[in-house]
């Protein structure tokens, strides 16, 4: 049976991992490759590197990072952040990225997703959607959640699937950072209506939340950052817990 995936997300700025990490035996906590390796050895199924570098000079460092990750890791990884064109994506592919994720650029230019899927195949294209509820509607936000758009989550996700997204990474801004569980109701609706995998993000705090996001939220994969980085939940413990609760995970 296809396993439910656990994904760790690493924020990268100027080629270095940001956000604290409390991994033992890790020489360079700021080194995204070392950190990725440590996660891989712990049994994480995939990694997402989110480039939050603001400057153009800094952004170039992402290529050497991608190359180094591809060289040193033998699990799949996605690169996101600041990808606005087919050329950006192609450069990342050439340097070894398995997938790229687009967010604000897809909202600005939905055709980009069609172009990416046509050129590289839909398996390469993850569409990240940040949304929060406003007047009982899930409203899509861009620019790291700062700007509301006129788009509504479910119709937007459907359009992205139709245009060739291979996966939808949905972050609930209502839940992100609260560590009180994922947006299971919205996730289940997304998962039921789409025929591509849905990655849940935002809200993980306890191991139980992962059980719920797979059972109730019907997610195909669950992504988290801080709780893994700060060692609140260790991946091997999480996998064992999920397996004990009859969720098919890779152990």
């Amino acid at each position: 049976m296809l396993a439910k995936r656990i994904i760790a997300c690493l924020d990268v700025k100027d080629g270095q991992t940001v956000k604290g990490v409390s991994f033992e035996n890790l020489r360079y906590a700021g080194d995204p490759v070392e950190l990725g390796k440590a996660y891989s050895e712990q049994g994480v199924d995939e990694l997402v590197y989110l480039d939050i570098t603001a400057t153009n000079e800094g952004r170039k460092q992402i290529y050497s990072l991608v190359e180094s990750v591809a060289k040193n890791l033998s699990i799949p990884f996605t690169i996101g952040g600041g990808i606005t064109s087919v050329e950006d994506a192609e450069n990342l592919l050439i340097h070894g990225a398995d997938k790229i994720s687009v967010n604000s650029a897809a909202v600005r230019n939905p055709q980009l997703v069609s172009d990416l899927a046509l050129k590289f195949g839909k398996q390469f294209v993850v569409v990240a959607i940040d949304a929060k509820t406003i007047d009982n509607q899930w409203i899509v936000h861009t620019h790291g959640g700062k700007r509301p758009t006129e788009k509504e989550l479910f119709s937007w996700a459907r359009e992205m699937e139709d245009r060739g997204a291979g996966e939808i990474l949905f972050t609930s801004m209502d839940h992100d950072g609260h560590q009180t569980g994922f947006a299971n109701e919205a996730l289940a609706r997304l998962s039921d209506m789409l025929s591509i995998p849905v990655i849940a993000s935002g809200g993980a705090g306890e191991m139980e939340h992962f059980k719920d996001v797979f059972n109730i939220g019907k997610a195909d994969a669950a992504l988290a950052a801080s709780i893994f980085h700060f060692g609140k939940i260790a991946i091997p413990d999480l996998k064992r817990y999920l397996a004990a609760n009859n969720i098919n995970v890779r152990v």
Binding site: M1, L2, A3, A70, I75, L93, G96, F120, Q123
Partner: protein, 195 residues
């Protein structure tokens, strides 16, 4: 050991190269018939769509070369599918090394297509799987699949049982990505290098 990776602009090659280099191999990404023919082993990678891939192979006459190769050849993902007779993807005639056709997954219980992620392989045979445990997890990304047939070397279950791997004479194929399959994938590539 010298490994030729067939170059026909077939997606992410870096990871395959890196995985083989970690195993101590010298790799060359090439479309040169001479270099491919003289390599110790050949990797036939591939991500993308079957029609465009076959066109790219034909443009370099690689479609004629590949079936004549004598050394061990490993087709990965789309590379494996193209070694079959025909693909339902854009009604594409393929290389015909394996007497089987590639078909699209049909969801049975709301399964997502593509199959994307880690799934288990079983019924393992051929030296490719020496020391690999039954039901090991490997990483798949695909919408089309090869049904189970007499060339099946490993089976996987997603909507139906299908060929996770195929083998015939010097030709081997994996639907999954060994280069993305952690320690299990590493072992499978290591085994291939020993064939």
């Amino acid at each position: 050991m010298k490994i030729a990776i067939i170059d026909y602009k077939a997606g992410n090659i870096k990871s395959v190269e890196a995985a083989l280099q970690r195993l101590g191999c010298q790799t060359v990404l090439t479309k040169s018939h001479d270099i491919i023919k003289s390599a110790d082993k050949v990797i036939f990678p591939g991500v993308g769509n079957a029609g465009a891939a076959m066109e790219a192979l034909r443009a370099e006459k690689l479609d004629a070369l590949i079936p004549t190769l004598r050394q061990p050849v490993l087709g990965i993902c789309l590379g494996m599918q193209l070694m079959c007779r025909h693909s339902e993807e854009e009604d594409t005639d393929a290389l015909g090394i394996f007497d089987v056709d590639v078909v699209k997954f049909v969801p049975k219980n709301g399964e997502k297509i593509p199959q994307m992620g880690w799934n288990q392989i079983f019924g393992l045979r051929t030296p490719l799987y020496d020391g690999v445990g039954e039901n090991s997890f490997v990483y798949f990304v695909h919408s089309y699949m090869v049904p189970v047939f007499d060339g099946t070397a490993a089976t996987c279950d997603y909507t139906v049982q299908f060929s996770a791997s195929i083998a015939k004479n010097n030709f081997y194929g994996t639907q999954f990505h060994p280069e993305k399959s952690g320690v299990v994938g590493h072992k499978i590539l290591e085994n291939f290098l020993k064939i």
